[in-house]
């Protein structure tokens, strides 16, 4: 194809060279396709596990309890069913769902104080211990009927009376492609099993507490723990990070200290997160336990704050640096002191950038699991966190815990929790993009 007159010493093999170049270009390009495929596979595998058929067995059918569907019954009627079917379990249900005091004090506290909700006057002064006779179950049924919603009561009935159990679960792909086989295998089982198309991502999952039984397990406290933890992390790391950034950008001179801080921040960014967990375990959980109360949300938030500090500092510094020096000069020119200049001129101008950095830090923190495992996040906590000193669980920890359960159905629950986590991340990152764009449009 050498269409020019071939002179000189060189043989023209430009076709071969071009072919090779085109081949390699295709190979480079194919890696991009691989990246896309991997992302799709990731999403696919999560969705695949979240929806699909489940085989459900129950000891009693709902029709045997009432002629109307359970969902249409009033709370008092549902409570009556519970009273008839499981009188002995009512105390535990009241304690698990309504108790306002720690488990070990519940039986000795008068119901007026021990119950979260309305208590009839005739029961108010009694303690569960006083009710240990035959009168107890009826009293508890009243408490349940008065204080729980129909949905909660139906859930209690499903678990304790109907004994609904998920015997087996199938993925979405299996459900769609092997419907007949699944139906046949369910029909062949001895127990009467129902085949239901089930979304593991449901209201119960989002609101209920964790449980040993996958039918009941939810991420309510974990979700609350995540929010609690994030808010506290932001409250701690934002002032620290921005303060450090202001110091480095506006105050520090080219000095040993400045260089030390810079190298240090760079190196900290490369420390594995689990090491931060070990720092937190020793310093916050153990040494400072008189402040943090040990394995508390506060300890977790302090640890995560240290973890995301480098991100916040780096981004805030960039934002401060991007503020045009004319603003500074104008402010100084009017006789402002340094802090006045920083707080009234520079910080407001840098705010969008600072917020972007904060959000990047938060989206890192939200998925962090390793340090919180070390700090002592736990899935066995069944109450919602109510103070900075509560023990806590977080969403990614629940995902970890459920994924490592031997029961396959927990993997389905886990994938539903992952969807919740990813949606949270998506929201947070959209906020980051929003601020970034605003920062850019403002600058123009």
């Amino acid at each position: 194809m050498s269409n020019l007159v071939d002179v000189g010493v060189y043989r023209s093999d430009v076709i071969r060279r071009n072919t090779r170049a085109r081949w390699m270009q295709n190979i480079y390009f194919s890696t991009l396709i691989i990246a896309i495929i991997v992302l799709l596979l990731l999403l696919f595998s999560i969705i695949n596990q979240t929806f699909g058929y489940v085989a459900i067995s129950q000891e009693i059918k709902a029709e045997q309890l009432s002629d109307r569907p359970l969902a249409e019954l009033q709370p008092t009627e549902l409570a009556t069913i519970l009273l008839e079917q499981t009188p002995r379990l009512l105390l535990v249900m009241v304690r698990d769902n309504l108790s306002a005091v720690p488990v070990d004090q519940f039986t000795s506290t008068p119901l007026r104080d021990g119950i979260n909700g309305t208590v009839p006057d005739d029961l108010a002064d009694l303690t569960p211990r006083d009710l240990s006779g035959d009168t107890g179950p009826a009293a508890y049924a009243r408490l349940l009927g008065d204080n729980l919603s129909s949905a909660q009561l139906v859930a209690l009935i499903e678990v304790n009376v109907l004994k609904v159990e998920i015997e087996q679960s199938w993925t979405l792909v299996e459900s769609l492609t092997q419907r007949e086989e699944i139906e046949a295998s369910v029909a062949a089982t001895e127990d009467q099993e129902d085949l239901v198309f089930y979304s593991w991502l449901n209201n119960r999952l989002l609101t209920q507490r964790n449980s040993q039984r996958v039918e009941e397990a939810g991420i309510g406290p974990a979700l609350a723990g995540t929010f609690y933890l994030l808010i506290m992390t932001v409250a701690i790391s934002l002032p620290l990070g921005v303060g450090a950034a202001i110091y480095l950008e506006e105050y520090a001179q080219e000095s040993f200290l400045n260089r030390l801080l810079e190298t240090n921040i760079r190196n900290l960014a490369g420390v594995p997160s689990i090491i931060y967990g070990m720092l937190g375990l020793t310093v916050f959980v153990n040494t400072l336990s008189f402040i943090t109360q040990g394995r508390s949300i506060l300890s977790g938030a302090l640890t995560l704050s240290l973890l995301i500090l480098p991100i916040i500092i780096t981004n805030s510094r960039e934002a401060l640096r991007a503020v045009p020096s004319t603003i500074r000069e104008a402010s100084y020119g009017l006789g402002a002191t340094k802090w006045q200049t920083v707080s009234r001129q520079i910080l407001p101008a840098a705010l969008p950038g600072v917020l972007t950095g904060l959000i990047l830090g938060v989206s890192r923190a939200i998925g962090e699991t390793a340090p919180l495992i070390v700090i002592g996040a736990t899935n066995s906590i069944s109450t919602f966190p109510d103070s900075p000193f509560s023990r806590f669980s977080v969403l990614p920890f629940t995902i970890y815990n459920w994924s490592s359960q031997p029961d396959a159905a927990f993997k389905n629950a886990s994938s539903a929790a992952i969807i919740v986590l990813l949606v949270l991340l998506l929201i947070i990152n959209s906020a980051a993009i929003f601020f970034r764009n605003r920062a850019i449009s403002k600058r123009v």
Binding site: N3, L4, V7, Y10, R11, S12, D13, V14, R16
Partner: protein, 279 residues
Amino acid sequence: MMPNTQTNPSAIPARPNAIEIKKVDIYYGSYRAVHDVNIDIHDRKISAFIGPSGCGKSTVLRAINRMNDLVIGARLEGEIIFQGRNLYGADIDPVEVRRRIGMVFQKPNPFPKSIYDNVAYGPRLLGIKDKATLDEIVESSLKRAALWDEVKNDLKKSGMALSGGQQQRLCIARTIAVEPEVILMDEPCSALDPISTQRIEELMLELVDQYTIVIVTHNMQQAQRVSDYTAFFSIRRTEDEATGKDTRWGELVEFEQTDQLFSRPAKKETADYISGRFG
């Protein structure tokens, strides 16, 4: 794979390494940088492009070896004929064009490799692996670029460790090592001191025996000293009355023998520019 050498001797142009630029417009995206350029670059002569900054000298020069293809959105209308073929024809391979029409840049840009590897880079690409042949090519190229005596003892030294003038001569050596037929030089001396400049100018005068050379320069004395022909470019402006939009493009004003252009410019604009009364 034999190149389709032309069998009919009469089809070989009388001036094999001449370049005809015919009615060329060059665009960067929607911006037309130069308009209607026509130049006959003569075989084995030095042609100089002069003109004010931004008039499109580099643009035209880079169009000759299709360097502008690398700029996203750059596009050329018209024809550039070399060895009887339109370089922008459908069947022309830009890689081969650049091998035959080499280029030396404004800022010396040796690779961060040894002097030897810098010069051997092109020949290696072209499939020469034999050490002895490479040695020979490196030596002869460095000699022709008048650098051999200065570097023959440390060819392993990094090309970036040389002085600016030496680096530029290294770049020239690197260019002639692939035996091009034309060498394009975009302000090759603008980053150099007068002594280095003089050496490069001498070099050009030596090389012109074998190569067609096109040089862009801001230095009119240089153009007068080295070139046989000179093209003067200028900037045209129109203002759209309706929108108030200011449109600018570069245009060829005059292309003449250097002596004639500098002593008896045909256009007033040229006269103004060369006498420093420009702008």
